[in-house]
């Protein structure tokens, strides 16, 4: 099945935000990782077969302009909420991948009744009770994303022989991560206290070999959210969407479509 993805640009908060969109049906806003996202992924295509899928680039990442004033994932959350308002969309489900999971949780905590479902995949944003979120700052551009896969072959499937363009993009992503989440690194001290207001049922997904975000954090998410359950994916790293796209798409589809 060939899918028609449409790329558009939206003026938000003084900058241009890039959005890819495809499919029809219930609306899914996918929020990508700290390392950005390839333009197309099997996971996105799979979901676009049965949903209206929106994949924006976070402000400052990929094809979206950098707002110099941007300082936190909560600012990014406000920008994505602005995008949904401009598009006139409601009853949206948020699919947050890693760092994007943090942004999704910020969006939902600021508008507790606004979203249909929340899917958080290895979310950053909360200090794990045991272990630390992996720090990009002191490892190479290749080591960091590679450590997010359980199986190196999966990394190669997605990124192939990594181009210099891709390395440059990862440096820019890394800089944006520093600009928005340097200290404390990759978590909020206030977010855990704000999860309880969120009305949307939540599915928390974790790769069983996630070396970026310790799975001990899952407990905090499950206990903090009103209505959440945990699914663990076997033989899978942090980037579940890239390593086990079909499995994650199946989980998302049945969870979002459930009444």
């Amino acid at each position: 099945m060939s899918l028609a993805w449409t790329d558009t640009t939206h003026e938000i908060a003084g900058g241009k935000l890039h959005l890819s969109r495809a499919g029809s049906g219930r609306k899914l806003l996918i929020l990508h990782h700290d390392i950005g996202t390839p333009d197309r992924l099997a996971f996105y295509d799979s979901l676009a077969g049965s949903f209206d899928v929106l994949v924006p680039h976070h402000p400052g990442w990929g094809k979206s302009e950098r707002p110099q004033w941007l300082r936190s994932p909560r600012d990014i959350a406000a920008i994505h909420a602005w995008l949904l308002a401009d598009l006139g969309l409601s009853d949206v489900s948020l699919i947050g991948l890693g760092f994007g999971g943090w942004i999704a949780a910020e969006m939902a905590s600021l508008a507790p009744a606004a979203y249909r479902r929340l899917v958080l995949v290895g979310p950053m944003g909360i200090k794990p009770p045991e272990g630390d979120i992996a720090d990009q700052a002191i490892v190479s551009y290749l080591d960091y994303p590679q450590a997010g896969f359980h199986d190196r072959a999966a990394f190669t499937r997605v990124y192939g022989d990594v181009t210099t363009d891709q390395l440059e993009q990862w440096d820019i992503c890394r800089e944006m991560s520093f600009r928005t989440a340097w200290k404390p690194y990759m978590y909020s001290q206030t977010l855990p206290h704000l999860l309880g207001g969120i009305r949307a049922p939540a599915l928390v997904v974790w790769g069983d070999d996630d070396r970026h975000v310790p799975q001990s954090a899952a407990r905090v998410w499950i206990e903090g959210l009103r209505n959440a359950r945990l699914e663990t994916i076997a033989a899978c790293g942090h980037y579940v969407d890239m390593e086990k796209p079909d499995e994650l798409a199946r989980l998302v589809t049945s969870f979002v479509n459930a009444n």
Binding site: A137, S140, Y141, T164, R174, E175, R179
Partner: protein
């Protein structure tokens, strides 16, 4: 010409094999290899060597600061500055410099520098630096805002030094309710500010715009000329002509009574596999957002091993041949440095005399020969070439105190 003595104050008393085994001698190289007993001895030896340098006639002692690494024992440059303020009488205490972005409270930094200026009776040169990439990581400071913090902290400190308090500071990176420190510099309008650097074009241009001298840190003669050109153009744009008083140069120079001994000791300038800031992962030295976006592409290729270090990795012999390292007897060193001075024309010069594991007696002999033989010859040669330092040239401390720029004078009035 202003001639300074410099050493990184190496903490060489650790097992070099441990560093090689670990693959790094910076940032994450464990301080379980740090020996406070040896360090206590070294601190005191280095202190005595600075006093000796003053006795031997050096004009200034250049101090710096680094963190988490054996190549430099000073994690707070103002600490040694404060000690030198009390135990020396004549030499300038030249900070090159305080890493401004590392400070979350530039007001306190201004207080420390002011105290040292008063205790030393006005001998401080208050250089400022951005701090290397590793320094940001070692201190938990966001590298992406390094340059913004540098400029804002500088503006806050110089406001403290030139305008009476109390005032409130509501900046982008610093907010202070009541800025009103009861410690101000003795020197007016404020201590001279010099800015050292290696390759950042943005810093060279900013420095020229302030009319602060720029001190090139052991760059090659050709690279130094490029820096001077960049500086001179930026100076012309704001209305003044840059001269030797705007330019400084730091070079590694080791001198002994015999050439053989000098060359043997000078090899210690390569003591950590030639990486004078320690063996490190490239991303530590250049965390994302720290460096200019124009260098991004070249850097990422280097960081993953696809390209050579843009700074190169010249051998000891190549560096001696290129006058990046100078070693020999006083006569040999003087001849070589005269050549260097003629080609780079600095008004300020730092002689980095000792590094690595050079024995204490040899370090002291090097200082004696530098102070008593090499520096006087260079001073005389510099005078012949018209190379005035900022004091000899009566250079303004900052552009705004210029008397040779009509618009500035009008603005000041």
């Amino acid at each position: 010409m202003h001639l300074m003595y410099f050493t990184e104050q190496p903490m060489a008393a650790y097992d070099a094999h441990e560093g090689l085994k670990y693959g790094a001698t910076a940032l994450t190289f464990s301080n379980k290899h740090y020996d406070p007993v040896a360090a206590s001895r070294l601190y005191n030896e280095y202190l005595e060597e600075y006093v000796l340098a003053e006795e031997c006639g050096v004009d200034g002692i250049m101090l710096n600061e680094h963190h988490n690494a054996p190549f430099c024992m000073q994690p707070r440059t103002n600490m040694f500055g404060a000690i030198l303020a009390a135990v020396t009488k004549r030499v300038k205490i030249v900070f090159l410099g305080n890493p401004l972005p590392l400070s979350d409270n530039p007001v306190q930094l201004s207080e420390e520098i002011s105290m040292i200026d008063m205790i030393s009776k006005g001998r401080v040169v208050s250089g400022f630096v951005r701090g290397g990439g590793q320094e940001q990581l070692a201190n938990g400071v966001n590298p992406a805002f390094n340059r913004e913090r540098f400029v804002e902290a500088h503006d806050l400190i110089t406001k403290i030094w030139t305008e009476p308090g109390p005032f409130r500071w509501e900046g982008t990176h610093y907010q202070q309710r009541v800025v009103n420190p009861w410690a101000l510099p003795l020197q007016k309008p404020y201590p001279r500010v010099w800015i050292p650097g290696v390759l950042s074009k943005e810093t060279v241009i900013w420095t020229a715009q302030q009319r602060y001298p720029y001190i090139a840190l052991n760059t090659s003669i050709d690279a130094t000329k490029v820096i001077w050109d960049t500086y001179s153009k930026a100076a012309a744009e704001v209305g003044y002509t840059a001269g030797p008083e705007n330019f400084g140069y730091l070079i590694r120079v080791h001198v002994q009574d015999t050439e053989e001994k000098a060359l043997q000791n000078a090899r210690q300038f390569m003591w950590m596999q030639g990486e004078f800031t320690g063996l490190a992962h490239p991303v530590w030295a250049n965390p994302s957002g720290y460096f200019s976006p124009s260098g991004r592409r070249g850097f990422v290729e280097f960081a993953v091993g696809r390209a050579k270090n843009p700074r190169g990795q010249p051998t000891f012999e190549e560096q001696v041949a290129d006058t990046m390292i100078v070693a020999g007897t006083p006569d040999q060193v003087i001849a070589r440095l005269k050549h260097l001075i003629e080609h780079t024309r600095p008004g300020i010069m730092g002689l980095w005399g000792n590094d690595g594991t050079v024995p204490a007696a040899d370090r002291r002999r090097c200082i004696e020969l530098l102070g008593k033989e090499v520096m006087p010859a260079l001073r005389e040669h510099g005078a012949k070439l018209g190379l005035k330092d900022p004091w000899e040239a009566n250079a303004p401390v900052h552009l705004r105190y210029s008397t040779d720029i009509p618009v500035q004078r009008a603005a000041a009035e």
